[in-house]
C-alpha cells in the first residue's frame, strides 16, 4: 500500500474517471460504464477499483482516466479504448504506449504519467487537491482524506475568536475576485449583535469562461460545506445557504448528496458532533442573472426579490439576509478554510506573496494549448501560467493578449506577460483577478471585437437599476458597434474613455464599476487597433465583417462546388467544374466558404476592406 495523491490509500489499482461537467459532456459516463463492465468480464474487480471523480482540471483533454498508484494519464478516452485500458490493468498488463495518451502540445510526444505533464507539474493544487481523486458522491472518500477533521478541531479545540484570528493571520483574501480581506468580514459578523446570522456561499459563477467554482462543487463539495460550517461556528450563525446557479445541475446534485450525507454523519444539523453548535445548510438555486453574483443582489434574490444590488453601507456583515448579519464569501474562500484550520495560518501564509496569500485558481481558456482549471501560488507570472502550464498558443502563433477576470477584468498585452498574478498587481495593470477567468487571445482575435463582446455581455446582464450601468454600457456598445462596422470617428475614442471613467465611478455596484474595464484596458494597450478601425477601416485580425470581404481566387478554384453548397445565402455561383464567384451584395461574410474550401485548393481569401465599399 502506498500513499499517493491527496493522501488517499489505494488498494492495488484505482481507475479515476473524471465525471466533471466537461468530461461528462465528452462521454465519460459511457467510459465509466464500459470500463466497469470490461473489468468485471476480465475478473479484475477485486484488484481494480473504478472510481468516479470530480474534475481533473485538464478539461480540454477529456474524457480523462487516471490510473493509480502509477499515475498513468489517459486523455481523450473513447469507448473503443476501454478494452485496452482494462487489459492493461491486469497484473500482467503494461501501460498503454500510444492511444489514448496525452501528447505534449509543444513536442507532440506522448506522455504517460500526469506528473510529467507540464499542465500539472507546474501547478500547486491545494484547494483542488481532492478534485479528481475522490468520489464526490461518497462522503467516505472525503473522510479518508482526513475530511471534517478540521471541523472537529475547530469545534473542540478552538474558540470562535481563535478561528477568526487564525483566518486573520493567514492573510486569506476573498477569492470571489475583489480580494477583500476575509477576516474583516468574519470579525464584523462575529461582533455584530444578535443570534440570527447567516453564512452564504456565493456560487453564482456567471462569468463567461469561468468554471472553477463549478468544478470544486462538483469535485469536492464537502470542503466547501466544511468551510461554511466552521464559518458558522466562528460568527455564531445557525444557517447557511449555498447560492448556486440552476445552470449547474451536476453541482447542485452533488451538493445535495453531500449535504444529505454530512447531515447523516452529524456534521450538519443539530448539535454537530455532539457539540452545542447547530448549523444547517440549504441550497438556493439562482436563475442565472450575472448580477446575482454581486453580494447584495444575491441577498435580494434569496429574499425572493428581483436580484438587484443596493448601495453599501450597510454591508452584509451589518445588515444582510433579512436584515441580519451575513457572511458572504466565494466557493474557493470557504474551500481554503480547512487548510487554515488544519495546517495553521503560518502554513497558509507561507504560500503566495507578501500581500496575497495562498493560491489562485484560474479557468484557462481561449487560444491556449492546454486549457482547463489551474491552481497556482499567488504571485506566479502570467507568462508562467500561459506558457508554462498552458503550453502557449496552439500552432505557435504569437500571443496577443490575455483577458483576466472576465467581463469585469481587463485585457493585458504581451508587454505585461511578466505581471505577477495576484489581486494587487493585476489591479495596478488595469485588470483584476475577478472571477478567475483567463482568456488568451492571439492575432486572430480583433481586440475591438473582444471589448465589444464583453460590453455586450454587461449590457445584457446589467440589472438596469442605475443609469450609468444601464445606459452607459449600452452607449459604449453602440459606439463600439459603429467602430467595428467602420462607422466610428476619432472623437468616439475620447467619448469611450470619458464614459468609461464616468461609468466606473458612477455605477452602483461592481458590475457597472468594472464593466468599462475591457474597453479602457484595450484602449490603453491596443489603441492603434481602434484607430485602424476608425481611420483605415481596417480590422487587422480580419474579424469585423464590415471591414473584410471574401473572394475566390480564380487560379486556385477547381469548381468543386463545396463552397456553393455550404453558403447559407446562395451568394456563390458557378457550375460544377467552373470557377465560382461570390456575389458581394449577397455575401453575409459568415466565413463558411473560407473554412470549407479544401486546404489543398485554398481558393478563398479573406481580405481587408469591404468589397461593397470599394465598389
Amino acid at each position: 500500500m502506498k500513499i499517493r495523491r491527496g493522501g488517499i490509500r489505494m488498494s492495488n489499482k484505482t481507475c479515476l474517471i473524471c465525471q466533471g461537467t466537461g468530461c461528462v459532456s465528452a462521454g465519460s459516463r459511457e467510459i465509466h460504464a464500459s470500463l466497469e463492465k470490461e473489468i468485471e468480464q476480465l475478473g479484475l474487480s477485486k484488484d481494480v477499483k473504478v472510481k468516479r471523480t470530480g474534475c481533473h482540471g485538464f478539461c480540454e483533454q477529456g474524457p480523462l482516466v487516471v490510473v493509480e498508484p502509477e499515475g498513468l494519464f489517459y486523455a481523450g478516452v473513447k469507448v473503443d479504448d476501454v478494452p485496452d485500458i482494462a487489459r492493461s490493468l491486469s497484473p500482467q498488463g503494461e501501460p498503454l504506449e500510444e492511444k489514448p495518451l496525452y501528447h505534449d502540445s509543444a513536442t507532440g510526444n506522448p506522455i504517460t504519467h500526469y506528473h510529467d505533464i507540464s499542465f500539472y507539474n507546474k501547478q500547486q493544487r491545494t484547494v483542488l487537491q481532492n478534485c479528481g481523486n475522490i468520489d464526490p458522491e461518497e462522503i467516505g472518500d472525503y473522510l479518508a482524506t482526513g475530511g471534517y477533521q478540521s471541523l472537529r478541531k475547530a469545534l473542540f479545540e478552538m474558540s470562535p475568536g481563535q478561528i477568526v484570528d487564525e483566518v486573520k493571520r493567514s492573510g486569506l483574501r476573498g477569492l470571489g475576485g475583489a480580494g477583500f480581506p476575509t477576516w474583516i468580514k468574519w470579525e464584523a459578523c462575529q461582533r455584530a449583535p444578535g443570534d440570527e446570522k447567516y453564512v452564504i456561499c456565493n456560487a453564482d459563477e456567471g462569468d463567461p469562461g469561468a468554471f472553477q467554482d463549478r468544478s470544486i462543487l462538483e469535485g469536492d463539495p464537502h470542503s466547501v460545506l466544511k468551510g461554511m460550517i466552521i464559518a458558522g461556528y466562528a460568527i455564531g450563525a445557525r444557517k447557511g445557504y449555498v447560492y448556486v446557479r440552476a445552470e449547474y445541475p451536476l453541482a447542485i446534485k452533488r451538493l445535495e448528496i453531500a449535504i444529505d450525507q454530512a447531515r447523516k454523519k452529524g456534521f450538519i444539523g443539530k448539535s454537530i458532533l455532539d457539540s452545542n453548535f447547530s448549523f444547517d445548510i440549504e441550497i438556493f438555486q439562482g436563475a442565472g442573472a450575472f448580477v446575482c453574483g454581486e453580494e447584495t443582489a444575491l441577498l435580494a434574490s434569496i429574499e425572493g426579490k428581483r436580484g438587484m444590488p443596493r448601495p453599501r453601507p450597510p454591508f452584509p456583515a451589518q445588515s444582510g439576509l433579512w436584515g441580519k448579519p451575513t457572511l458572504i464569501s466565494n466557493v474557493k474562500t470557504y474551500a481554503n478554510i480547512r487548510w487554515i484550520v488544519n495546517k495553521g495560518a503560518d502554513w497558509f501564509a507561507g504560500i503566495g506573496t507578501e500581500g496575497c496569500k495562498g493560491t489562485a485558481i484560474f479557468s484557462l481558456t481561449g487560444k491556449i494549448a492546454n486549457s482547463g482549471i489551474v491552481e497556482v501560488p499567488m504571485g506566479i507570472t502570467l507568462r508562467e501560467i500561459i506558457y508554462g502550464i498552458g503550453g502557449g498558443i496552439p500552432g505557435g502563433k504569437p500571443f496577443k493578449a490575455v483577458q483576466t477576470g472576465g467581463p469585469s477584468g481587463g485585457c493585458l498585452p504581451a508587454e505585461l506577460l511578466d505581471t505577477p498574478v495576484d489581486f494587487d498587481s493585476l489591479k495596478a495593470a488595469g485588470s483584476m483577478m475577478g472571477s478567475g477567468g483567463m482568456v488568451v487571445v492571439d492575432e486572430d482575435t480583433c481586440i475591438v471585437d473582444l471589448a465589444r463582446y464583453f460590453v455586450d455581455f454587461a449590457t445584457k446582464e446589467s440589472c438596469g437599476e442605475c443609469a450609468p450601468c444601464r445606459l452607459g454600457t449600452n452607449q459604449m456598445l453602440d459606439i463600439l458597434n459603429d467602430i467595428v462596422e467602420g462607422k466610428g470617428e476619432m472623437e468616439d475614442i475620447d467619448i469611450l474613455e470619458s464614459l468609461g471613467m464616468g461609468i466606473k465611478k458612477g455605477s452602483l455596484c461592481g458590475l457597472g464599476q468594472t464593466a468599462p474595464n475591457p474597453v479602457l484596458t484595450t484602449l490603453k494597450y491596443f489603441r492603434e487597433e481602434y484607430e485602424e478601425h476608425i481611420i483605415e477601416k481596417k480590422c487587422r485580425a480580419k474579424v469585423c465583417k464590415d471591414l473584410i470581404h471574401f473572394i475566390i481566387m480564380p487560379d486556385r478554384c477547381t469548381g468543386c462546388h463545396i463552397c456553393t453548397k455550404v453558403c447559407p445565402v446562395n451568394a456563390i455561383s458557378g457550375d460544377p467544374k467552373q470557377i465560382h464567384e461570390i456575389d458581394q451584395e449577397l455575401c453575409i461574410k459568415c466565413g463558411l466558404c473560407f473554412e470549407k474550401c479544401p486546404p489543398k485548393f485554398g481558393a478563398i481569401e479573406k481580405n481587408y476592406g469591404s468589397k461593397v465599399m470599394e465598389d
Binding site: R310, P313, E461, A467, G472, G502
Partner: protein
Amino acid sequence: MDMLSFNINGKLLTVGKGKTILEAALENSIYIPNLCHHPDLVPSGNCRMCIVEIEGRRGQIISCTTPVEEGMVVRTDSQEISHVRQTTLELIHANHTQDCTNCSSNSACELQKVTAYVGVNEERLGRLRRTRQHYNIDDSNPFFSLDHNKCIMCGICIRTCDEVQGVNALDYGFRGFNTVVSTFGDKPIKESVCESCGECVVRCPVGALTFKETRQPTFEVKTVCAYCGVGCNIYLGVRGNKIVSSRGDRDSIVNKGRLCVKGRFGYEFVNHEDRLKVPLIKKNGTFVESTWEEAFSIIVEKFSAVESKQFAAFTSAKMTNEDNYVIQKFTRAVMGTNNIDHCARLCHAPTVSGLVQSLGSGAMTNSIDEFTNAKTIFSIGSNTTAAHPIIGLHIKEAKRKGAKIIVANPKEIDLCRFADVFMQQYPGTDVVLLMGMMKVIIDEHLQDEEFIKTRTEGYDEFLDSLTDFDLDTTEKITGVPKGKIIEAARLYATNTPSSLVYAMGITQHSHGTDNVLAVSNLALLTGSVGKESSGINPLRGQNNVQGACDMGGLPDVYPGYQKVTKPWAKEKFEEHWGVKLDPEEGLTHTEIFDEIEKGNIKALYQVGENPILSEADSNHVKRALANLDFFVVQDIFMTETAKYADIVLPAASFAEKDGTFTNTERRVQRVRKAVIPEGETKDDWWIASEIARRMGAKGFDYESPNDIMDEINRVVPIYGGITFERIEDEGLQWPCPTTNHPGTKFLHGEKFTRPNGLGKLFPLTYKASIELPDSEYPLLLTTDRSLYHYHTSTMTRKVKGLEILDGEEFLKVNPEDAQQMEISDGEYVTVRSRRGDVRVKIKITRIVPKGIASLTFHFHETPTNELTICAIDPVAKIPETKVCSIRVEKMET
C-alpha cells in the same frame, strides 16, 4: 435626540443622529442634485446624482444612503463629482424624449432641475448615440398613463407601490438596457393588480407617469374627502367652477398625503350633468321643474298637516355635522317627534348598542395614527383595504414595522396577503370564534388579571359562559382549525399593544350586538383597550356617520348621546330650543318602513339616503314608499329612491359648502366650500331651516354653519370646545369639552365612560344566523364592497374612470361550487332568494370558500338587497345583510 455636527462645503451643521448626508443637506437648504430620493421611501441610491466626497474616504459616495457621522467633512461639488454626474445625466438625456415644452411635467420636472444645476456638455451629448427605444405609452388606466420613453428609472413609483401602498403592481421588468418599469407579466396597468391610487403619479419626478387630464388648478381649497369614514384631508383644485384635482395633504396626521382611488379621482360627480339643479315636483306622476318657493309652500302645507307621530325623517351620514344638527332639530323641535334615524342603523347600530353597554361609548377608541405603533392588529369582519383604504395603509405600515397581523374573515380578502394568521370563519360564527379565542386565553392564563380586577365587572358570569366554547366546538362551528385559533389568541393576548379593528362583518348580523360584545370581551379580558395603540376600533363607513350619530341623528338620543328618555336631557334641550319635546324614543330605520307600510307614518323627509339599494329586503322598502302620503327627498342626484318622492329638493354637495365632518377616529375636521353650488342647489341646513322658519318655528335663523357650530358647542358637551377657529388647520378629537381642551387621542385611558367607570364583560351564547343554506337555497350569500365604489354608488358611478375600472356586479363563487352548478366565469345567472331575484354575471374565485357566494350592493342594475333578509338584531335593530341563502339558476338560452 442625539445631535451630530459635521462640515459640509465649509459650513458647520448640527443635525439629528441617523440623518443621511442628503437629508441633512436638504433640510439646511444645501442642494445636492438627486432624482430618486423621496422623503417617505427607503433610499435606493440608484440615480447616482447625489454623490459627494468625504474627507478620508476614497472616491465618490452616495449621500442619500450615507449617515452623517460626527466630524465628517463633506464636499458636495468637485471637478470629479461634476464629471461623474454629467456622464450619468448625459446618458439619461441621450435616452430621453426631448419634448420638454410639451411635457405636462414641464417646470415641475426634477430632471430639468438637476440638469440646470449640473449642466451637460453639449458637445459630448451631441456625440452620444440616441439610444432611446420607442415604447408604446400605456394608457390603459382611465386616470393616468405611463410613458416609458420619459422614464428615468428612479424607481420611486416602484418603491411607493411597495413601501407605501403594499400593492406591488409595479416593479422592474426585463434586464439590462431593456429594463423598464413594468407590471407582472408586462400587462397593461389596468390589467395588473394596480389599485389606481395615483400615488406613483404624484411622485413621478419626470413626465413618465402623468395624469391624463391636465389637472393644473387655478386655486386649491383644503377640505375633507367625501367618501369613507377615514376622513382624509385633501386639497381640491378648482379651475373655472370645476373641480379638476384632488391632492392629499401631507401635513395631515390622518392620511399623511396619501389617497385612494376614490379620494384622488372620484370628484367628477360634483360637476356632473345629472346633478339635481332645481326643485322638482311630481305632477301627474312625472317630475316637473319648479321653484324653491313652490316647493316650500307645498312642503310647509303637508308637514303642518301631519301629526307628530305620523312624521319621520332620515338624516344623512354624508352631510356635515351642521346639516345633521339642523335636520334632527327640525324633526324634534318643529315636527315634535324623535322619529329620526339614518343609515348608521344599517352599519354600526350594534357598535353603539354594544359598546355603550360594555365601555360606555360606541366610537373608535384609538386614533388612526396609533395603528402604526401596534404590535398586533386583529382585523375581523373588515375588508379594510377595500372599504377603508388609508387605514389599510396604516396597517400595512405597522406590518412593515414588525407588527403581527391577524385577519378573521369568511373571505380571503386582500389584507390576508399581510396576515400572520388568517382565520376563515363561517359567516355568522364570530361570537364562537372570539369566545373560543378567549377560552384559549383563560386556559393558558394569558388574561390581564390586574386589568380585569381594577377596570372591569361581570367577569364571573362571563367565565361561566365561556365553558361552552372549547376548541373542538369552536373549530366545528367556525371551521377554523384549532391551531390557528390558539396562535391568534396567543398573539393577541401577548404581543401587545394589540389593536382590534372591525366593521360590517361583525355588525350586520341578527346577533350583531352579541358580536360587538364578544369583541369588547376579548379586549377587556386582555387589557387591550384604553391604551395607546391598543383598543377596539369599529371602522365607520360613511364620511360623517360618526358625526351624524354625534349630532343626534338617532331616535333615542339628542346630540351628544344624551338620552331622550332622560328627563334632564329633555329639559335641557327644551330650554335651549324653546319648545316641548317628545319624551319617547322614536322609531328606527327598519321600524319606520314597517310603520309606513302599516299606514302609521304618512310623511317622510329623507335627506341624502338611498334605501332602495341599501336597505335589506328592499322590495319591502318599495312597497312601503308607495304607501306614503307625502315624501320629500333632498339629495344631490335623482337616486333610485328619489323617484318615489313627491318633491325632490336639490342639495349642495360637500364641495359646495362649509361645515365639519367627524371621521371614524372622532376627529372633527373642516369642510370648505371649493366651488359655487350647481344650479339652485342649497345647503341642507339652509333648506331645513327655511322649512322650519316657514312653519313658524323659532331658533332657525342661522346665517352660517359657524352659527350652528356655536349652538352645538353649547348643547353637546363632547363638542364643547370644538370651534371652527380651533380646527382651522387640524381637526380635534372629541371628547373636547372646553376650548382649552386638547381633544382626546384615545378613549377610556383612566376609566370607562359607563356610569360606574368600569368596563363590563358579558356572558354570551352562540346564536345561529336566521337564514342558513338548505336544499332549496343551498348557497350562503354574504355582501362586500369594492374599492372603486361607494355605498349605493350615487357618486362613484358618476365618475367615468371608476366605471371603467369596475363597472359591473359579479356574483363571486368558489370554483368547486361553479363546477357543481355547471356555470362558467362571466356567465349571466339568476340569483334567487326567498325575497327576490337578480340577474348577474359570475366571477369564479377562490376568494370565497366553497358554499359561500358574495355580492356588493353598488349597482342599481343588480339590486343585491332585494335578496337579503330583514332579520333584525333585537337590540340594535340592524338587518342581517351579511347572511342569507340563495340559489343560482342558469339563464334560459
